[in-house]
Each structure stands twice: as structure tokens, then as C-alpha cells.
Symmetry: C2
Subunit: 182 residues, 2 copies
DNA sequence: GTCTATAAATAGATAGAC
DNA sequence: GTCTATCTATTTATAGAC
């Protein structure tokens, strides 16, 4: 039956989805395997049947989080950088903890501490992000600047304690992207 | 005697300097109190005579790291954003682990996970950085964009695994700042 | 594949001698 | 203020029953 197939997720997928959300929100060290497995409604012992280590899970979870973040963008905004940035640099993206944010911004300085497998996933995700930006930019350099304004702007707006300044940063980055966009 | 005074650092300063370097390089969770105290040539037991908690140390260490990063910039580059960005977005600043990097970039997504005291220190440091940028910008919005290009560009260049792309990001951000600078 | 139980290591924080 | 010793909790990872 169709509804059964739809609702039946296998365990590895459940673990990955739990991890993608938790890691994106709180980073590598703040989340234990136990927490991930609990959210996936399993116990710790089952973990190592699916992943070789916590770091292995992290790499795969970031990949999944990036894919899901990508899917949430509409096809329309995919080729309109200004429209894309309008969501990316929104208070919703900054504050909403119920859906996953973009791991490129949420985890940028976390990744620096991780092993090569994790950094490779991050790098590939960034490459795709840049390619997309190039489609609505005059040249590669302006695409890179737009990408840095999005990721950097969102990361900084999340770090600071001052809501007024945080909103100001988001707006300034949006304007910066508008001024270089094709 | 003068040389004695110069060489005699009190314990709290030694702890703070050790922590500033270690935390900036590796973030909050990767560094234990034991590691910090060992670098300061003291033992764990002495720690709580100087700081109330690890988080308390982190806040003060970030403040110190920011001050030291600030001091390393020459007076000249302080009022020349392009010159300032030339060092900030250099491979040296990205790679050199012997002197402290700018905590605004090195710890940006780490800070999001910390308590209010830590985030307040980060926010104040950012405010000073923005003020400085305003002195060589047409307006506040362009100052904010330059600051995001510096912090975001450096943070991203450190996260990724691909040296060619990393260098490209640094260069693109430098060019972006040049194009908006006064 | 999933469970319970446990190993083995590390961490933050405290107590008390000096 | 600094030391050694310890408490308590948490963590990654493994072993073995089902």
C-alpha cells in the first residue's frame, strides 16, 4: 500500500534526519550520539550498525541538511539571486529552529575543527552554492562576493546579541547583493 | 628592576593569554580547562581562584584576543580599509597558528552556542570593528558590507578543504572591499 | 538490526592540605 | 594562591543477548 511505503522510513534515514536538524542547530560537540538516537526513537547500541563514527554521521548529516536547504528554495529563486538572498538573509532563516538552516552559515567555524571527510562535504556544498550564484552574476568574482555576503551575513547575525544590529546586518547584505546582481 | 617587572606576569594574565590563543584556534569545546592551565604552567586546582567557570574564561579570553588582534594592526591601516583588508584577508591570517587570529571570524558560529556574557563580548567587539570601518566608508551600510566580507570571507576560507578556492575567496572579498571603499 | 550493559576515557567543578 | 585528590557526570565506542 502506498501510504505504508510513504510512512515507512528506514532507521538510517531517521537517524540522518535527526542528526541533520540537531547538528545544524547546535554544532558537532553540543550534540551527542545519544541525543540523536533518542530523537530517532532508537537506542545508542543501534548506532554503529549504520555509521562508523560520530564524525562519519556528521559528514553525512551535513550533506543531507544542505540538500534539504537546497530543496526548500523554489525553482524561481534559484535563478534570481536577489530573491534567493531575500529568504537566505531573513530573520526567519536566522531564528527558525524548527526547520533546518543552511549548514554553510550555521556551521562555518565549526567545520574548521573537523576532519577531511567533513570538510570535503562542506567544500562541495559551497562549490554548488557558488555555481548557482554564478548563473545570476556578471562574473565569478561577484558571485563569490554575493555568496560570502549571504553566508557571512547570516552567520554574524546569528552570533550577535543585539537584535537591532543583527537586523541591520541582514539588510545591508541584501542591499550589497542587489547592487552587484545581474 | 625594569626587566623583572616586564617578565613578571601574574597567573591570571598567563591563563588568559593561553586561553586566548587556544580558544581562538580551536573553539570552546575542543579546549579543556586542563589544557589551558597546562599551557599556563599551572594545575587545574588553581583555575577557580581566577575564574568562576569555563564560560567566564571564554568571555574574557575572547576580549583579550580581540584586543591583541586590534593592536597588531598599525595605526596607518586603521584608517585605510583597503590596507586593513589586505592583512585581514591574507593567507597568513588564515593559516598562521602561532599568533592569534581575529576571534570575530575564527569563532563566529561557535559564539552562537554560548551564553549571553560571551555573546555580549562578541557583539561589543563587532561594534568596534564596524565603527572603525565606518571611518573609511561612504556610509554605514557599505561599512557593514565590508565587515561581513572580511569576517565571512576569512571564516569560509578557513572552513574549506580546497586551497585554490580558499585563495580565490580571499581575493574576491578584497576586491569587493576595494570597490566600495572611500 | 536493535536492545541492554558496560568499558574506558575525559570533562567541569569542588575539597582540603600547605 | 597553588597544589593533589576526588566527585560526579557525560561521552564515544564495544560486547553480547535476542
Amino acid at each position: 500500500m502506498a501510504w505504508q511505503k510513504k510512512h515507512k522510513e528506514n532507521s538510517k534515514d531517521k537517524i540522518l534526519e535527526s542528526a541533520a536538524l540537531l547538528f545544524t542547530q547546535q554544532g558537532f560537540d553540543k550534540i551527542s550520539i545519544d541525543t540523536v538516537m533518542h530523537k530517532a526513537k532508537l537506542t545508542r547500541g543501534a548506532f554503529y550498525s549504520h555509521f562508523s563514527s560520530k564524525s562519519d554521521l556528521y559528514a553525512q548529516a551535513i550533506k543531507k541538511a544542505a540538500q534539504q536547504a537546497q530543496l526548500r528554495r523554489s525553482e524561481q529563486s534559484k535563478y534570481d539571486m536577489a530573491l534567493y538572498a531575500q529568504y537566505y538573509l531573513s530573520t526567519q532563516h536566522r531564528d527558525d529552529d524548527l526547520q533546518q538552516g543552511c549548514p554553510l552559515a550555521f556551521l562555518v567555524s565549526d567545520i574548521t575543527q573537523q576532519d577531511d571527510q567533513v570538510r570535503a562535504v562542506y567544500t562541495e556544498t559551497l562549490q554548488r552554492f557558488i555555481k548557482q550564484a554564478e548563473q545570476s552574476s556578471e562574473n565569478r568574482q561577484q558571485a563569490l562576493q554575493s555568496v560570502v555576503l549571504m553566508i557571512g551575513g547570516l552567520a554574524i547575525s546569528r552570533a550577535i546579541n543585539d537584535k537591532v544590529l543583527s537586523d541591520e546586518v541582514l539588510t545591508a547584505c541584501q542591499q550589497g547583493i542587489k547592487s552587484v546582481v545581474k
